[in-house]
């Protein structure tokens, strides 16, 4: 997972139905880029059977009763 380019941001915003100007796309790419880079070591490594609800399973099985 790499940081999106302004061009990619513009295309995604268009697809989301909230078009943005070129300068806004550049600013978004600059702002959100570090989050993509920070998550890069995890992205693309998760096992097939893992679903978001696994969080609740861990939370409840490891909760203090």
């Amino acid at each position: 997972m790499t940081r999106p380019t302004p061009r990619q941001v513009k295309a995604m915003a268009d697809a989301a139905g909230v078009p943005v100007a070129d300068d806004v796309a550049a600013r978004i790419a600059n702002s959100i880029g570090p989050a993509f880079e920070g998550f890069a070591p995890v992205a693309g490594t998760l096992p097939f059977d893992l679903e978001p609800a696994s969080f609740l399973v861990v939370q409840n099985t490891r909760a203090v009763s």
Binding site: F39, V42, V64
Partner: protein
Amino acid sequence: MSATEPALMSLTEIAQAIAQKRVSSREVTQSCLDRIAQWQPSLNAFMTIEAEPALAAADAADAALAKGNRQGALHGVPLAHKDMYYEAGKVVSCGSKIRRDWVATTTATALQRLKDAGTVRLGSLQMAEFAYGPTGHNAHYGAVHNPWRHRHITGGSSSGSGAAVAARLTFAALGSDTGGSIRMPAHFCGVTGLKTTVGLISRAGAMPLSQSLDTVGPLARTAEDCALLTGLIAGADPADPTCINRAVPDYLAATRETLQGLKVGVPTAFYVDDLDPEIARILDETITTLKHEGAEIVSVELPDQRQLTAACQLVLACEAAAFHKRWLIERPQDYGPQVLMRLQNGLAISGVSYLEALRWRGPALAAYLAATERAEIVLAPVAPVAAPTIAESDVGNSLDAEAVIQRLTRFTRPVNYLGLPSLAVPAGFTKDGLPGGMQLIGRPFDEATLLGAGAAFQRASDFHARWPEMEMA
């Protein structure tokens, strides 16, 4: 300022004093209103002040008590809350221009439970626009000022809650914490704040920001006060199916615990890196106090917390953009520049990236809990610095705005991503007189241990009992 002013007592003390008729609800409410009238012009902590209705409600509470009818544990206690908790028939601005005149048709479960306990409404408290900002700036209603140093920020997004509790304008206040919004104002303003486990307290009727991360919790003067409030508002709610059906512990009883033998984990990295020297000193002094009180300090090596921060940002930005999509299309001009910028960030996150960040949450929590197995709680600073000035943190929508925000919140976001509880307690002051808070991070649904440790720490220190000698604007 007189130490005998009712407004200067703690929530627990004033609730008992009213119940025992040592002071009337009217006297207490008037004491708060007098302080609000004196300090609101310089602090800007309140969104609305409802003096006459508050006094009328106080009189009704006194009349009921005279007849032997005590409604609940907070009978006649005046409180104000962050202006994002819906109350039917009241304007709830959410700190925004968009909802400036919006009238709620339902009442938030947390708020209703406090009303059922007998509280009196003083008004509503300032906040960051749509709870999306960690500093206390608000493009529409102005910055809230730190009661300890007028030119400094309060932290956000529960900015008014932090300032009003610190200035003794209200005994306590509900805040919300999605990325640090209770703990940051608690740290910057020198009050106690509890970020609760995701699923402990109903979010029904609380303005949403991120459905995966939002939590409801109190800011108050003491851990004991937080325990009292949490015990009243926690528990299952049919209106919020994400709220877990668990028995609510006796949090007040937990505050009578000591620190003897409690295993406190201190991270070897991340939370101790790049600290302002004053915050580093406060951390060291907190460890010394905990040891002196019998706690056992153990080092903990945590998984890479930067990845948690990144995952938190992806989830938060995407969910916030989805909540706001209609207004992003129809009313973008009605957002403040920074909030608009941050909401637009979410447009750049694909569904796949968003879900990947959510899918990792379970394994990330399991890894954290395994790494901290030897500790019952983990100690960490709330933020690497004390409150910056309003001017230096007013970054608007500049190119480095997000970077500034991320630096301020880097110690709070991992906790939100993991959904863990965390109690922020006042732990010292800088040489410039600004408060510094530490967070006690617990295991899922173990607020009781945090509140017990916090209360024991507060019996061994007096930082929570100090109030600011406020400067006029």
